[in-house]
């Protein structure tokens, strides 16, 4: 057979630079690190709690440090970004059919925002 297809290998390391939509995707994936890091922060907090009140207040103290505030702020921003990027795609992932028609996407998205607001409010009130 004389055919000899030419294979264009995709670079394993720089492929995402080739298209804006890949960069956006990578931004979403990479920022997961912040969420990941935050889980360690929580584990550290749990450890401190187990080590007694002194250790725990030390932990809380460090959260109030400029670095701690900065980190929490960064995580908040990233979490909001991830929430939004998830809400945007919920109509695709969880379509709801009522009768013949599908519930319009914006209603599903807005319902998520609504639920988010309610849950946040409950946590805030409960925490205060």
């Amino acid at each position: 057979m004389s055919s000899k297809p030419y294979v264009r290998e995709m670079s394993k390391t720089t492929w995402f630079l080739s298209q804006p939509r890949y960069k956006r995707y990578m931004a979403r994936e990479v920022t997961c690190i912040f969420i990941f890091a935050y889980t360690f922060l929580l584990i550290w907090g749990l450890g401190a709690l187990a080590n007694g009140p002194e250790a725990f207040s030390g932990f809380l103290e460090s959260l109030r440090s400029p670095l701690g505030v900065l980190f929490n702020l960064a995580v908040l921003i990233v979490t909001v970004y991830h929430s939004i990027s998830w809400f945007v795609v919920t109509p695709q992932a969880m379509p709801i059919q009522r009768g013949e028609e599908f519930v319009p996407g914006n209603i599903i998205v807005n319902a998520h925002y609504g639920a988010w607001a309610v849950v946040s409010l409950i946590i805030l009130i409960w925490g205060m």
Binding site: R8, V89, A93
Partner: protein, 250 residues
């Protein structure tokens, strides 16, 4: 600009002839185009008037046969639906990304065909019924539930857009899984379990990281990304049912 206004376009085409080339190379053609043309018209002009050796696939010229998928300025497009008026005077045309190049703009697509066949993309009826008993009943709502996924023309632009397919060639990919989902959602079908064995796997939906590019480039608005996420949700529910509630039938 009126429809019949002429424009001179520089059409840069990635060419590859396996018998003479070791690697693809670009060749530029200067093409007098009408503003209402599509990129395919420009290629046809080249074929008929400048260079008969240029190879590409095409047929219907109305975005339904799915033959003429290619990269136009880096974006997966049907050449028959890539309008000249949407581009500047330089247009770069390359074969679909993520597929081996057979010759010029023609790619090797066997991989997709094999994957499509592997998901059992046909009705596996819930209950048998002879033809003489008439059609299976299906309400407009039941039809609408999967209708969107029947619109796939197998153009493979979603594969050209999917970096996951580029990185992991074993990935079943957007169109094949969407087609399985189409039959899974069909009220007449009872073959979901058989298809899940193929698609709810590491090389199936779990290879998808929801880049979403497939749905962005789909010329028929099939939304394969949506289909894949729905399969993930359903297969997760299956898992929980199986492991936490073994007494509940799927």
């Amino acid at each position: 600009m009126s429809e019949l206004q002429k424009r001179q376009i520089q059409l840069e085409v990635l060419r590859y002839n396996p018998e003479t080339d070791t690697a693809p190379r670009y060749q530029t053609y200067s093409v007098p185009c009408l503003n209402e043309w599509v990129v395919l018209d420009a290629l046809n002009y080249v074929k008929d008037h400048i260079d008969p050796t240029l190879s590409y696939r095409w047929s219907c010229h109305m975005a339904v046969c799915g033959s003429c998928g290619m990269m136009v300025n880096g974006e997966p497009k049907l050449a028959c639906k890539a309008f000249i008026h949407e581009y500047g005077d330089q247009i770069k045309v390359e074969p679909m990304a993520n597929f081996p190049i057979e010759r010029d703009l023609v790619t090797t697509v066997e991989d997709f065909i094999t994957k499509l066949a592997s998901v059992k993309p046909y009705l596996i009826p819930k209950s048998d019924q002879p033809i003489s008993a008439g059609e299976f009943k299906q309400t407009p709502a039941e039809l609408k539930k999967f209708k969107q996924y029947t619109l796939c023309i197998n153009c493979m632009l979603c594969y050209a857009a999917c970096p996951q397919y580029g990185l992991v060639p074993e990935f079943l990919g957007p169109a094949a899984i969407s087609m399985a989902h189409r039959y899974n959602q069909d009220s007449r079908d009872g073959g979901r379990d058989q298809r899940q064995e193929v698609i709810a796997t590491d090389e199936g939906v779990w290879e998808c990281s929801f880049v979403g590019a497939c749905s962005e480039v789909c010329p028929k608005h099939v939304d394969p990304a949506g289909a894949l996420q729905q399969v993930k949700v359903a297969s997760t529910i299956d898992w929980y049912k199986e492991h936490l509630m073994p007494w509940v039938k799927k």
